[in-house]
């Protein structure tokens, strides 16, 4: 990134902070309307540490149980998930609301993964993009750039692991994915248009298997991001296609992951436009030391 571009990123810090907080407000509103916030869970009885050391500490310390069973703590925890991003949005030039939100959101990722009984790793990347906002001006630019590199790294690793572990080379991978991951959907909706599409694709498995390889390669193209920012908008498109193909074939909806990718790969020029739309005039006010 050139010196001018680096300066731009700092100029638009407030815009980036506000857009990122709108993204988090969206995440929690989606979870609120999906009856998935801590206060809406009716105190789940099962948990799954899943050999995660941090989850083990979270559970063993009693913090998870306190946030689940103590009614007041549970309500405050849930409410803070909705209100802290709003506070950060309104106080986008200060660092302390972001420190608070980052801490609460990290606890939320542990809480959610523990009681949903599944590791939703994409929440960790969403948490990671809260870190740059707690840094000083110089640190912000470096950490924001670091978050983008981290995204390039984990997609590259996802691709490499498929090669190393052999999934990439299984010929019928796409076909088996549909058969196993979509089995419950197909059973419940035998006459749906989507099921008819799956049936047609199972009769023509080439498209499924080629589609799986194409999705793996889309993860691999993030390697380009280590060397240039020129193709960042195409990497956002690659991120969207990975999200869409995974939703179609594996019955998951990683919208949080795609949103975080779109934000971290957005160019300074686009932040300038969004800054105008959000009526934030550069240069941004001075940040807390």
């Amino acid at each position: 990134m050139s010196r001018a571009a680096r300066q731009n990123i700092n100029e638009y810090r407030s815009t980036i902070a506000r857009v990122t907080m709108l993204y988090f407000i969206g995440i929690f509103l989606l979870r609120l309307f999906s009856v998935a916030l801590p206060f809406q869970l009716n105190q789940p009885v099962l948990h799954n540490v899943n050999f995660d050391f941090t989850e083990g500490i979270f559970l063993g310390s009693g913090l998870s149980g306190f946030l689940l069973h103590n009614v007041i703590a549970n309500r405050i925890f849930s409410l803070s998930l909705l209100l802290l991003p709003l506070l950060c949005f309104l106080q986008s030039t200060r660092r302390w609301p972001f420190i608070l939100f980052s801490l609460v959101f990290f606890i939320y990722t542990l809480f959610n993964n523990l009681y949903v009984t599944h590791q939703q790793h994409y929440l960790h990347f969403a948490w990671l993009i809260t870190i740059p906002f707690i840094a000083s001006a110089k640190g912000f630019e470096l950490l924001w750039q670091g978050a983008r590199y981290y995204a390039c790294w984990f997609y590259t690793m996802a691709f490499l692991l498929k090669v190393i572990n052999g999934g990439f080379f299984q010929e019928g991978f796409g076909e088996i994915t549909i058969k196993t991951q979509m089995a419950s959907y197909i059973f419940a909706h035998p006459d749906a248009l989507q099921t008819h599409l799956y049936t047609w694709l199972l009769q023509h498995p080439f498209w499924l298997n080629a589609g799986a390889k194409f999705t793996f390669l889309l993860e691999g193209v993030f390697m380009i991001g280590f060397f240039t920012r020129k193709y960042d908008k195409w990497l956002i498109l690659a991120g969207f296609l990975i999200f869409a193909f995974t939703a179609f074939s594996s019955d998951v909806f990683f919208i949080e992951q795609f949103g975080a990718i779109a934000i971290t790969f957005t160019s300074p020029a686009l932040w300038k436009k969004w800054g105008r739309w959000l009526s934030i005039k550069p240069p941004t006010p001075k940040y807390d030391p």
Partner: protein, 182 residues
């Protein structure tokens, strides 16, 4: 990396640079792979996206769960995953525990791991699910689904179907098991 990202980071803050390098190194070391001897535990927020990286094992059938609420089969499409995640994932877990006599089979694994880490093995009880809690799951599922669907439910059933696909790609049920009826 271009423009010596880590060099600039090192000059700005050596500790931060080391933290970031450690973050990426630890995530790499914890990657799940048959070739990685360190992939015994994960350590949030360190993670790598290793799902769907290993080849599927060839099986004669696959499993479809059917959730029936007051006579109506409920299964939401992928775009509503957030609405269904707290029951779709836990039903699979409950089924797993049911197959082990309504006990958490990971208790012994946790005990083993704790002893390897020289930690008190009594924590294995905390980390795994108690049988009493596992047996409370059907009642929790019913109450959560009532809240999730916005109506009081009188009866819920969960079936596990063993299915395969014929040469036309049509799903066929081989056998079914009732997991719960409340």
């Amino acid at each position: 990396m271009r423009n010596n990202y880590f060099k600039r980071l090192w000059h700005y803050n050596k500790l931060l640079c080391l933290v970031i390098l450690s973050f990426m190194s630890i995530s790499t070391l914890l990657s799940k792979s048959p070739y990685n001897p360190y992939a015994a535990v994960t350590f949030s927020p360190f993670y790598t996206w290793e799902m769907f990286s290993t080849p599927y094992l060839q099986q004669n059938h696959t499993i479809a769960y059917q959730l029936v609420c007051d006579g109506e089969t409920i299964y939401l499409p992928a775009y509503a995953d957030h609405k269904k995640m707290f029951y779709s994932y836990t039903i699979g877990k409950f089924d797993h525990y049911a197959q082990h006599g309504y006990t958490d089979d990971r208790y012994e694994h946790y005990k083993h791991k704790l002893s390897r880490l020289h930690l008190d093995t009594a924590y294995a009880k905390v980390l795994s699910n108690a049988q009493n809690d596992i047996l409370k799951y059907p009642a929790w599922l019913k109450s959560y689904l009532s809240r999730n669907l916005g109506r009081e439910l009188n009866n819920i059933k969960v079936y596990k179907h063993y299915v395969h696909y014929n040469e036309l790609g049509i799903q066929q049920v081989d056998s079914s098991v009732k997991l719960l009826d409340l």
